[in-house]
């Protein structure tokens, strides 16, 4: 009796898991199917029918060249590298100052960052838009770079938390050797922060890669399209060519999937660290 009850519970458990997996994957798998079908095949087969030729990359070529996705990848990469580098330097620097020194105004700075974290970004775009215009950054990659660089406050907390565990005796022994605070930061603190920096790079990188709002609002020029806005542009001219759109979607997802499989553990911990704060 006992065995039977647990046995059927186990069956139920796996059954629901399989339904869950189907729900999570079906929307993606059908896109993958469609991306390999030619126009005729797409119109004559159902969405759930696998493609006849798994190596038919015609749609991918069309999407990549006609959709100017190379531009999108290039722009996204530039923005990502510059913004993340800036973000890491700025974040570690202010975290160093706030964590290692007690000075007047420290509490005020902390509070300022804390409160800013509460301001929902979407609400202030109306005025941010004016500021970006005024700085002459509208329709340039500078707009996205500067916005991604400055708005992130979670990073500061992650760095401060991590620095709490770096013994200040290290600093003191370096000071006996006559090292300046700047040297202590660059030679001791910054290298030891590597794990936190990796975490922040992953979170920031995924955030920038997936963001639609900022490039859409601040960089309408077609030559400045990021992967998000270049994909969004498929909605118009390719409106009825779903097989091409599906290929474009797969092109955008592929790097994410590779990264996810490779860095799964870091991604889980990074995401939860950022969220619970």
């Amino acid at each position: 009796m006992h065995k039977l009850k647990y046995g059927s519970l186990t069956t139920l458990k796996y059954l629901t898991l399989i339904i869950g997996v189907f729900g999570a994957l079906a929307p993606l798998v059908v896109v993958l199917f469609a991306s390999f079908k030619d126009t005729m095949e797409y119109h004559n087969t159902s969405a759930l029918t696998p493609p006849m030729h798994w190596l038919n990359f015609d749609n991918y070529v069309t999407a990549f060249t006609k959709g100017q996705m190379l531009t999108g990848f290039k722009n996204t990469l530039i923005i990502m590298v510059v913004a993340i580098l800036g973000n890491i330097f700025i974040g570690t620097m202010i975290a160093y100052v706030l964590q290692r020194f007690r000075f007047r105004g420290r509490g005020a700075i902390m509070a300022a960052f804390l409160f800013a974290a509460l301001i929902p970004g979407v609400t202030t775009q109306v005025i941010t838009f004016q500021i970006v215009h005024w700085l002459g950054l509208f329709n340039s990659m500078g707009a996205a770079i500067v916005l991604y660089m400055g708005t992130d406050i979670i990073g500061i907390y992650v760095f401060i938390q991590f620095m709490d565990n770096i013994s200040s005796q290290l600093d003191e022994s370096a000071m006996i050797d006559g090292a300046s605070y700047f040297t202590i930061f660059t030679k001791i603190i910054f290298p030891l922060l590597t794990p936190a920096i990796v975490t922040m790079t992953i979170i920031k990188g995924i955030g920038i890669y997936n963001d639609f709002y900022i490039p859409f609002l601040y960089m309408p020029d077609p030559s400045l399209r990021t992967i998000s806005t270049s994909l969004f542009a498929f909605k118009g001219p390719f409106g009825s060519h779903w097989e091409t759109i599906c290929a474009a979607v797969m092109i955008i997802i592929a790097p994410t999937a590779i990264l996810f499989v490779a860095l799964q553990k870091y991604i889980y911990s990074g995401f939860t660290q950022g969220a619970v704060k």
Partner: protein
């Protein structure tokens, strides 16, 4: 040549504090505080975003927001997103509980459920445009189950919000799940063993061990879903642009401001949203303090 190490540590301290905080503080002020102040100021005007002059209109913009359906429609639609967040929470809780114990292929299931939260927002929008198409994926699946006359998922104003909420649940479920698995794993495992010896079944274990231990994360999720449900933008904007009765408050703010150049009105809408989010966050903070 100037060298920092030639200065006394007292002087160095001042230099390093000033040098290391100036850029972050400048960015913070420019992109967080000036926008907030400006938003409050322009919310009382009829500024069009271009003209150097504008008129003060008092609370007119705010009165319009709560009396003109075009503007408050978004709040009505947030009810769908709010209810959807409970569905999401329930499913996440269920799978988190299952995946916290011995399950074959645990990491595989975790990965499959989480992966959607990593996908580019525009890609998610297009995936679900494809999914909900007439005779598309969903309709084909339903026809296997004998439902041959499905509704028009994205054209029928009575259903469109449910479809869009479905897409959101798909996207954010895995994220919720990972947070909950993290919370459940913090429960010491001998607690379950002790409970089992005392004759507790699976439901008892869930009710009396797991649920209390994740109360905090569940509470945070519920509270955050209030502010989250007034602010959906990306998925509905990418999929429908707010048409067929799927407008959200943020979509309306963006169109009012950037399409119709009503910056004063847009600012007032942003202020309303801002106040809601601040209020919800304050509730959350006090709630969590009490929990501790």
């Amino acid at each position: 040549m100037f060298r920092l190490s030639n200065l006394s540590y007292r002087a160095q301290r001042i230099v390093i504090i000033a040098l290391f905080s100036i850029i972050p503080i400048m960015l913070l002020v420019t992109f967080s505080y000036i926008p907030v102040l400006g938003m409050f100021k322009y919310s009382f005007t009829d500024w069009n975003g271009l003209s150097p002059t504008y008129n003060w209109v008092g609370f007119d913009n705010f009165i319009t927001i709560f009396t003109d359906e075009k503007y408050y429609e978004g709040f009505i639609n947030s009810i769908y997103y709010f209810l959807g967040s409970f569905v999401q929470l329930a499913i996440a809780l269920y799978f988190a509980t299952i995946l916290s114990f011995a399950v074959r292929g645990r990491n595989f299931f975790k990965g499959v459920f989480f992966f959607p939260s990593m996908i580019n927002s525009v890609a998610v929008g297009l995936i679900f445009l494809f999914f909900f198409r007439p005779e598309g994926t969903l309709d084909t699946i339903l026809s296997f189950m004998g439902i041959t006359n499905p509704p028009k998922w994205l054209l029928n104003p009575d259903i469109i919000n449910i479809s869009l909420v479905g897409a959101s649940v798909w996207r954010y479920l895995g994220f919720n799940l990972i947070l909950m698995i993290g919370a459940i794993s913090s429960v010491p495992s001998d607690l379950y063993e002790a409970a089992e010896i005392d004759g507790a079944n699976r439901w008892h274990q869930f009710r009396y061990i797991i649920l209390p231990s994740i109360r905090r994360i569940v509470a945070i999720t519920v509270i955050l879903s209030i502010s989250g449900s007034v602010a959906p933008f990306e998925i509905p904007y990418i999929m429908t642009g707010g048409s067929n009765g799927s407008n959200t408050f943020v979509i309306q703010t963006v169109t009012t401001t950037f399409k119709y150049n009503k910056y004063g009105m847009g600012s007032a809408m942003a202020v309303v949203l801002f106040l809601i989010v601040i209020l919800v966050t304050l509730i959350q903070k006090t709630f969590i303090k009490e929990e501790k």
